[in-house]
């Protein structure tokens, strides 16, 4: 389960669980933390790209504030194309991370989407 509240609204739990299941039991806590940070960075990039330059620092501050409720409310006010794009790119990010990790591991079997 993704631990950051507002990310759970947009990232796929199933894909996330699939990625996390590839780690050894003792590494899962650290992996969970790193993957969550990567997803948060991706989300921040997408949202900042969509934000006017003069607003970017304020939006960045909001997204790093840790105030889940405010961020979720703000995200709900964003136009649908932005939140749809956010969903799509977060899913793609999880798949990319998984692909990069799998590429190193010669025993990984890749299945096409």
């Amino acid at each position: 389960m993704i631990s950051v509240g507002w990310l759970t609204l947009y990232a796929s739990d199933a894909l996330y669980a699939s990625l996390l299941s590839g780690f050894a039991e003792q590494d899962k806590v650290a992996a969970d933390k790193m993957i969550t940070e990567m997803l948060a960075l991706t989300a921040r990039s997408i949202l900042l790209e969509e934000t006017e330059a003069s607003y970017q620092a304020e939006v960045a501050e909001l997204l790093t504030s840790g105030d889940d409720q405010t961020i979720s409310e703000w995200l709900k006010q964003q136009p649908l194309p932005i939140t749809d794009s956010l969903r799509e790119r977060l899913d793609r990010t999880i798949l990319q991370i998984q692909a990069e990790l799998a590429a190193e591991d010669s025993s990984a079997i890749l299945h096409s989407v």
């Binding site: 699939s18 590494d27 990039s45 970017q56 620092a57 790093t64 990069e100 591991d105 299945h111």
Partner: protein, 243 residues
Amino acid sequence: MIAAPASTYSLNKLEKILDKKRQEFSEQFDFKTPITSSQTSVAVPKQERDEIFAKLETVAATSAQLSEKESLYLEQQVSDLLGFEISSELEGKKLTHTFGKIQALDEFSLQPHTTTNRSQNVRGAHIQKSRPSLGWGTEDIVPDSNHFLLANHLPFLQDWHQKYAHYKRWYKWKKLLLINPFNRISVVVELAAATLPNPMQYQFGGSPDLIRASQAWSPQAQGLVCVFFIPDAARVNPGVHKV
């Protein structure tokens, strides 16, 4: 979907991917991650923000008449603060007031087609016998269903009696920005009615949702607000914002 491999993924490799992502993010955006809460408001320093709000508070409280130059300067300052343009005049048209006191109106004086269910859920919503001014609110569809509706007594406009048909069309559902400078809250609102029940005492009227969301009747604000046009309303996020 890529199935998890039988062997485990490498934590070191994951860390490298994370570092790469951090670096990409830092390169893309000038400010570094994470931005701490102490780095507030980029464009306008805190002291200047305080000054702008102090000025808005003073003008709202005293209903002082600003000269055109002062007014333009203040609008520019507020625009800079908000990150989008606001103005007290749009296409040569104005509201009767930019600063004034807002009256809490019941839901039905602005939106009589509101369902009984909704009126039961809204504190301060009462069924009113009379129709709202000009019948605007009798339309079935509210353009933006945010229910932040504003009234301004447009018959006070100098040439209302000559141009009311045109004005009625032009002002209808116009997007405006209401600012409560005392609590530093802004709300994107829509002009829903052209008359006020008590125009000598109040300059604006607001739906129950608006009055609550803007905290217009907080002990500090006492109903005093500022209302501006938003020339490029399509680019402004609707709803309530802490300024």
